[in-house]
């Protein structure tokens, strides 16, 4: 493409099919305690894949 460069295709709709295991970190247990910062966390399943 000449006019558009895709940085990430986005996978949010795909996660509806397989997401929701609940093993991820609770947002306020990170560094915040005064805001909600879900978007900067990682999926626990993707972390497991990374470690493998």
């Amino acid at each position: 493409m000449k006019h558009i460069k895709t940085i990430t295709p986005g996978t949010l709709t795909e996660t509806v099919k397989k997401g929701g295991c609940g093993e991820c970190q609770t947002s306020c247990q990170s560094a915040c305690k005064t805001s909600c910062t879900v978007g900067n966390q990682s999926c626990e399943q993707s972390l497991i894949v990374e470690k493998k």
Binding site: T26, T34, V38, Q41
Partner: protein, 469 residues
Amino acid sequence: MVHLYENNGLKIALDVNSGAIHLVDEMAYKLIPKIEELIKNDELDENQITGPTAEILELYHQKMLFTPDTYEDYINEVKDRETVVKALCLHVAHDCNLACRYCFAEKGEYGGNDNGPKLMSLDVGKRALDFLVTNSGNRHNLEVDFFGGEPLLNWEMIKELVTYGRSLEKEHYKNFRFTLTTNGILLNEEMFSFINQEISNVVLSIDGRKEVNDRMRPLHDGRGSYDLIIEKFIKLAESRNQADYYVRGTFTRENLDFTEDVKHLANLGFKQISIEPMISCESNLPKSNSLTELVNEVPGEGPAANPDFALCPEDVPAICAEYDRLAKYLLTRKEKGQPINFFHFMIDLTGGPCAAKRLSGCGAGSEYLAVTPGGDLYPCHQFVGQPEFLMGNISDGITKTALYDNFKATNVYTKPKCRDCFAKFYCSGGCAANAYKLTGDLNDCDDLACDLQRKRVECAIMLKCDGSS
């Protein structure tokens, strides 16, 4: 919904419902809203289309632009699932050796409404972990944060409680992730090995420059705390190989140039930095929803007035400009081969949270609970000390089930202000405690916090795009 914006010379298109992100040129930037409108009105003729319009339509057909919002039914399915408790904020000390001027915990006293013990006993701590194990269902990873007040005032108990937690893991197939939030006054190098072995993340509270830190974070006798903590924090961060910790500060309207505080910490060698906006405490709307009726069964004293250093709506343009300045500083360091991580600009574009997580919010009051030194349960650490939010205790469990139901039901679709917000899948509806403090309604939002959240998301995405243009 597509959010188009310019930042640091880049034109960025965020397809909100898929999470796709594109860098676009001037022509595409102008065309995207027009084509979205044509598609919405079913007026688009796809024949004889070339150039940027063809590219936009290709992405549309690949579900990377104009993706419809199909999550509203899904969230009901998610919310109908059984909820387990997966995280506890253990207030092991309702006492503090600092007298921070902005502290929401009111120097560890939490409004003076907690008449229980100041320090959590080992027995209460053990029963809290038992409560967590019992109520966590099949969830394997359990999170326990040692919080306060200042948790190191109860250090020996923390050590024993961690040992107890480890003893439960094998039998119950659980993995405890212990975290610690400390002001560092009592920290000593003898604690380092235990902390580094057992504590998966440490939050070290410091506001940045000495004068900024000492103005807001004095000891009870008025002396500044910076000189008492800084060398210990540097050593602890190094001993953790500059990972699994944050130096965390708060900015107020007295240091809206908080990039200088980030620079100060970075120049000392810290690589994991978080500087967050002070939360306000002033309620500006009458409390008038059903939750209010519920919680007003026990009258509280009402919120305190905001101090003069609290952030105000008129500060938003200056703070947003400062976030831009900070983002450029991070880029400069990265280009020099000296990157640092700023917590609020972190974003995982490929392995981020699933839709269920992003829609559900922070989990306060259902998945996440705070435990006082006496064993009382509150929806989260920020509600502690407000009698109307006392949910139960670790012996009897959650007894105020209507309050639990209210928290569990909260999600981005129960919050009218989130519906048309491009950042809703990054903040998940924002902080419930802030919303309630400011508006009296869990399903409303703290508008100032939302403005800042949107700006941070824009900066975070820009940082991922930079270098790709």
